[in-house]
Amino acid sequence: MSNKSKLGEFDWAAGLIRRICRIAGEPRLIDKLSRDLGRRGVRSAIRRHNTSALFDWLVETVSFQGIGNHVAHDYMERHGRVQWNEIAALIDAGPTCPKLQSYWHFDHCGYQKVERRCTEPAHFAACPLPTHDLRNGRLNQAAYSLFFFIRDVASGDLIGWIDRRLADADLPSARGRAMRLRDALIEPLSHIHGVSNKVLSMALADLLLAGDPRRVLWTEAGAVMIAVDTLVHNFLHRTGILRRQGAEHPYGPTCYAPDGCGEILERIAATIDARRFNPAFPANFPRFVQHAVWRFCAESGLDECNGRRIDDRARCDRRECPVFRLCDRVALKPEGDLQDD
């Protein structure tokens, strides 16, 4: 593809996403997040550097990965949530498993809930992980890995750690400043076992954007954190944006790789001045753009572009869709072998 036609394809994609922002962009995004975090005690936890309250919120947010929100929520309502104080007490009791000594030891734990097994079978009977009735063993591992990260890497103060990481990455004149701020947090936290990039970006974006407006670096970093879920990925596929950008890929880690969904959305977001939607927004606001795409698609949003509305074996025929004429309407799974959303 020539550079000229590549540019034309990009302009088309940017135009389509701009239209989505006009239809589904949420001008009160930060206000809504602020209210939600306030209601759940996260804003006061930030002010007081209350690590246990933040952990409890984070680990609950992580529990929403891999399944519908209502299913995850119902499960937690029925079976309870894991809390910092519970894990701290169990670790203080000195479990025998060698993997439960520190963040750096907690590797390849392999706990599987249904099979009741792990990679240290001699210590399984006395292991504290199975004492928490979470939806699957991966979530138990994620909770312990996050606990160890905060205790050992962040020295028990997650807020102080975030402040320090952002201050160290803050070089005002350098290019790609916001991305560097984001990466200063995402890269270390991405090593926590069992926490997907999507969930990490989503939780951190909310925390940083709306946790404390006086922390300017937080807002800057949160604005560029993009969460690519199947809805967002499938939208980019169905509309033909991935195909026209020569970036077709299956949903998964590739969405965050170079030329993946995240990078494409970032490039498009750079052409959209979010201040037109709310003057208080930063001009470059990829999270707002990604949220608009998600809201356009989601059943709990505008419910326009998802697997329940579209028969993905063929091109979409929903003429009532507000972007029907702009969209390439690429069949998501013509051979019935791709992921659902």
Binding site: Q101, S102, Y103, W104, H105, F106, D107, H108, D152, V153, D168, E187, P188, L189, H191, H193
Partner: protein, 102 residues
């Protein structure tokens, strides 16, 4: 002739008897020291020219990664050369390094 900048190295033998070593950035010294102490690896500042030449060839470690990602596998010959420098009186802690600098 200027002395080379000291290089922070963590090295040791893992639970499977394999040689591991990595270099770390100075800003990661505190966490590298903590992790290496917990995992039973050795934490050293290499500050002579010949030692730095070997240390520079080591893979970069990652203080946020666990076990295998924290320090990497290296060839036994490289490990032995590095060990020789340590036994030859290389400072083993930042405090020692600082006192050596005075």
């Amino acid at each position: 002739m200027t002395e080379p900048a000291p290089i922070l190295v963590v090295l040791g033998i893992d639970g499977e008897g394999k040689a591991r070593a990595s270099r770390f950035a100075e800003r990661d010294a505190e966490l590298a020291a903590k992790a290496s102490a917990l995992l039973g690896f050795r934490f050293v500042w290499i500050n002579d020219e010949a030692g730095c030449a070997i240390a520079e060839s080591l893979p970069q470690g990652n203080v946020f990664a666990r076990v295998n990602g924290f320090i990497r596998l290296v060839r036994q010959s490289v490990f032995e050369k590095l060990s020789a420098f340590m036994d030859g009186g290389v400072a083993t802690t930042p405090e020692q390094r600082r006192s050596d600098d005075r």
